[in-house]
């Protein structure tokens, strides 16, 4: 009799086990939705947000542009209109709205170039930076101060007052030369134009870097 009873119970065990498995499968639905949690952990993102190391100064960018540093791309996150009006040399326009489009990804999610975001100030550029950093993109930078600071430091540098240090005067001369490179013409430049040209010319010569061709290996 007892055996019969246990046999009856045992008949149900598969149904029972199957029910538990189905219940557990139902539990999977309750797990947090992971597509919402794309990207790096919040704690990591916060520490990145606080850090100031994403900023790159206008002087450095000017220097890189003049020396034709091939290691970075400039991304203009302003709208098309402002981009058409003025943009830094060779900048690529990705308006903030189109930041996460598939086409933009090609530029942002790669590890061949540094990506430097800029906008009028660094407000929108920072936003672009935060979103892209969360997605785990590498080598992202932000131009500190954006085009406003670009204008006040590089394009239109102010003559330091007479009581300033020699370094500041030196910085001013560098910036002035840079602004000439980016198309600004000064009255005193016209008078001594010949000498100016001579100064600018060797710069270009220095910067052209050619890859060395390796001698072919092997062969007969």
């Amino acid at each position: 009799m007892v055996e019969k009873k246990t046999a009856k119970v045992l008949n149900f065990r598969y149904a029972f086990l199957a029910a538990i498995l189905i219940l557990l499968a139902g539990g999977l639905v309750l797990l947090p939705k992971y597509q919402k949690h794309e990207g790096i952990k919040p704690q990591v993102l916060l520490s990145k947000v606080i850090s100031q190391e994403r900023y790159i100064s206008t002087d450095l960018i000017a220097d890189k542009l003049i020396s034709r540093d091939p290691s970075f791309i400039l991304i203009d996150v302003r709208d098309e209109e402002s981009y058409a009006n003025y943009s830094l040399p060779n900048a690529i326009n990705i308006p903030l709205k189109k930041l996460l489009d598939e086409d933009s990804k090609v530029y942002l999610n790669q590890n061949q170039f540094d990506v430097v975001f800029y906008s009028n100030d660094n407000f929108y550029a920072d936003q672009a930076w935060i979103l892209c950093s969360r997605l785990g993109y590498k080598n992202l930078r932000v131009l500190k101060g954006g085009t406003n600071r670009w204008f006040s430091t590089i394009i239109n540098p102010q003559v330091p007052s007479e009581n300033k240090t020699a370094e500041e005067f030196e910085l001013f001369t560098t910036r002035k030369a840079a602004s000439m490179y980016f198309g600004v013409i000064y009255p005193d430049q016209v008078a001594s134009k010949d000498s100016e040209v001579k100064i600018e010319a060797p710069k270009k010569v220095i910067t052209v870097r050619k890859k060395k061709k390796k001698a072919p290996e092997g062969g007969c």
Partner: protein, 203 residues
């Protein structure tokens, strides 16, 4: 007899499997902070311009002012009724509790700092964490004789027309300079391909 052994194995295996799943579930620790908004949502939020508050609007009873500067600056001078939550300490128990409380009461947290740029980071960060009732107070704070001075600040205002300035500077020369001397083709990003090795040797 053989058949019962077989069925026993099946039930033992499935019980073990269920045990493993249950242990896994019990051991699973839900991360303390999870994003509630993905980047697309956040981008949508920031491209709609409704998250900026100006100084005249802060007398709204729904707004809770939050100062993201550090304690020293906060104590030196802050807006009336503001709470101090220093950005690096946002995820502290105390501070996230405060933010949760604001969220529960259906109030809007209005963040401010020394300038709007400073608040940008914490704002976007908190939004992605799911604190959706959050805004930025567009002000600039400075001190004059240890007194806090607050004024409205316009975000992303273009201060100068650079192309006009450059064109304007060209009036100094009578000659026409050759423009656009520097033309570098736009960079192309090449998808990496495996390099084919040049065949070595052989005849």
């Amino acid at each position: 007899m053989k058949e019962t052994e077989k069925t026993k194995r099946i039930s033992i295996a499935s019980i073990l499997f269920i045990l493993v799943v249950i242990i896994g579930l019990l051991a699973y620790e839900r991360p303390k902070f999870l994003y509630d908004n993905n980047t697309e949502n956040a981008l949508e939020k920031i491209t709609n311009d409704d998250y900026i508050v100006t100084l005249n609007e802060i007398n709204n009873s729904d707004y809770v002012l939050i100062d993201v500067r550090n304690q020293f600056e906060f104590e030196k001078g802050h807006l009336e009724n503001a709470i101090n939550i220093y950005t690096p300490e946002i995820l502290n128990d105390k501070n996230s509790g405060l933010l949760d409380e604001i969220k529960e009461k259906n109030k809007t947290a209005v963040l401010y700092g020394n300038n709007p740029e400073e608040v940008n980071g914490p704002f976007l960060f908190l939004y992605q964490l799911g604190y959706e009732n959050i805004k930025i107070l567009a002000i600039e704070n400075s001190y004059l004789q240890n007194k806090l001075i607050t004024k409205n600040s316009e975000i992303e205002k273009s201060e100068a027309d650079i192309s006009a300035f450059i064109k304007d500077s060209h009036k100094y020369t009578s000659e026409k300079l050759i423009e656009e001397e520097v033309i570098i083709p736009p960079k192309k990003i090449i998808v990496r391909q495996k390099k084919k090795k040049a065949p070595e040797g052989g005849c």
